[in-house]
Symmetry: C2
Subunit: 339 residues, 2 copies
Amino acid sequence: MKIILDAMGGDNAPLAVLQGAAAAVKEYGVDLILTGQEKVIRECAEKNGVSLQGMEIVDCPEVIEMCDEPAMSIRRKKNSSLVVGLRMLKEGAGDAFVSAGSTGALHVGASLLVRTIKGVKRPALATCVPTAGKPYLLLDCGANVECRAPMLEAFGVMGSVYMNKVMGVESPAVALVNNGAEESKGTPMYQEAHQLLKTNPNIRFVGNIEPRDVPGGKVDVVVCDGFTGNVILKLSEGMAKSLLGMVKQVLYSSLKCKIGALLIKDGLYSLKDTMNSEKIGGAPFLGAAKPVIKAHGSSKAMGIQNAIRQAKTCVENDLCGTMERALEQITAESETEAE
Amino acid sequence: MKIILDAMGGDNAPLAVLQGAAAAVKEYGVDLILTGQEKVIRECAEKNGVSLQGMEIVDCPEVIEMCDEPAMSIRRKKNSSLVVGLRMLKEGAGDAFVSAGSTGALHVGASLLVRTIKGVKRPALATCVPTAGKPYLLLDCGANVECRAPMLEAFGVMGSVYMNKVMGVESPAVALVNNGAEESKGTPMYQEAHQLLKTNPNIRFVGNIEPRDVPGGKVDVVVCDGFTGNVILKLSEGMAKSLLGMVKQVLYSSLKCKIGALLIKDGLYSLKDTMNSEKIGGAPFLGAAKPVIKAHGSSKAMGIQNAIRQAKTCVENDLCGTMERALEQITAESETEAE
């Protein structure tokens, strides 16, 4: 298996990307193709003692910056690490593409260069978010900041297929984020999306979910527009970090607490570990014709390594083929019912 | 001081409302006017041994339900606890109105019956949210689910005035929620709001804030549309509850942890206390001509009690007069500058 990796993407590139790549080669035995400025990559690797074994480098002079307008940068920066990587994926030079670069550029690039599977207009960025109970799949997480109601319906269907076929959840519960349980809640777009999801025969829609209940882990798929999803994803991270920081402060606040801290520290470490977004590593673009994985922009080495692991899992489980077949089957069933 | 209280509003009405009211009368020495179904109120108080001392009851046969369409219910249910209470506030029978009922109906009612102060089109629901550092004012929290950019600009100004004049914060830092730090991020509405806030000379706008950084307590005012604000408010609560629950689970997971738990429990209690939304109690509608306080729909007695305390503070600090004068001053300064 060959995974293409954007060596220039993310806040900590290229060093964190190279460290994550080296760890992934060692741990998972994958072959990597790095796209990026070869000179910069080689110098960074040498300076920091990172091995480039198992990695091929494809020199790309250009870099898409976070502030670049997504559609424009995909059209103009044809020799960027992101565009070259996506083109190589399309042409079959690798099996999946991983990048911690601009979500917007990756989204536009996945749509335009890699294309979408039949029946999907816009890929959705989907992340498994950890909770005290089972993790839930959140989509869209930030690729489509403006959505129409039928897009939210499609997110519900794709999320349901992903949780069922890839994560093995029987009859996933799909919920719509909203500012109240009643059908009449939310913007007109959310009200319309509620009706579309409710009447879609191919998913088990359980109604609106209030943001308060999202971390409870009671549902399998949480559907919303990309702006809201981005808020949910990032605020969950921020709250986890902030609250665990406050707990830590309590533990250091007195001698008595410090002794108590020694006794519970193993348990707290495992809790911190559960909530660590770096361990999840990346989010697949559901609906893209081939696996495109977005690693967190602030990924450190572990985040990159886990995004590569996730890309490998997507390839092994034939995520895109499975999604396409499941959507075809749904369409066929609807047509049969309609006859 | 007389505070009007909607006895029928909220998930736990009327019992929790009456318990909170009784505690507020005892603690803060306020006089209360309860609006609601007198027979139900008296029976509930008697059955549960809640004293109605210091409270006058105004019998209102109708109740606005959570599922009622807001504008319609304000027009049609003229004898509801919410409409009667707001009308009494307008007419000067009381100094402030507190309700845990429908946010939508309260918002429409505040706009139509109590009216707004000069220069404000739509009141915004503003909540002080606790963090590890200083609390921040979040607005809008759910009253205006659909916003145009100038509304977000007005939220920034009103929030800044509130934090300065009522909370005593010198030159409050105002930030706009967005899915990235760059000006180009977000929906077109958010992009426009960014420019309006940035060029408004009367606030100290510090740019976009990513949801990850919101709980850090680095800014004083966090501006967003009501749908997003509702997500931030409720998800923050949900995450706090969920994470503290996970910490508790760790503390009971082994004998060693149980001993550790005994040593740190006081510290953890005070942390839980800091994050308890019931302690904040309620959210003022900024821009309304008189103090209208929304208590959380799920308020228990403590939530109601604290919302009444907050109403008292708003009256004592002349929130509405202060807001009006500050906005007038801003307008006057802009006109002088323009000359």
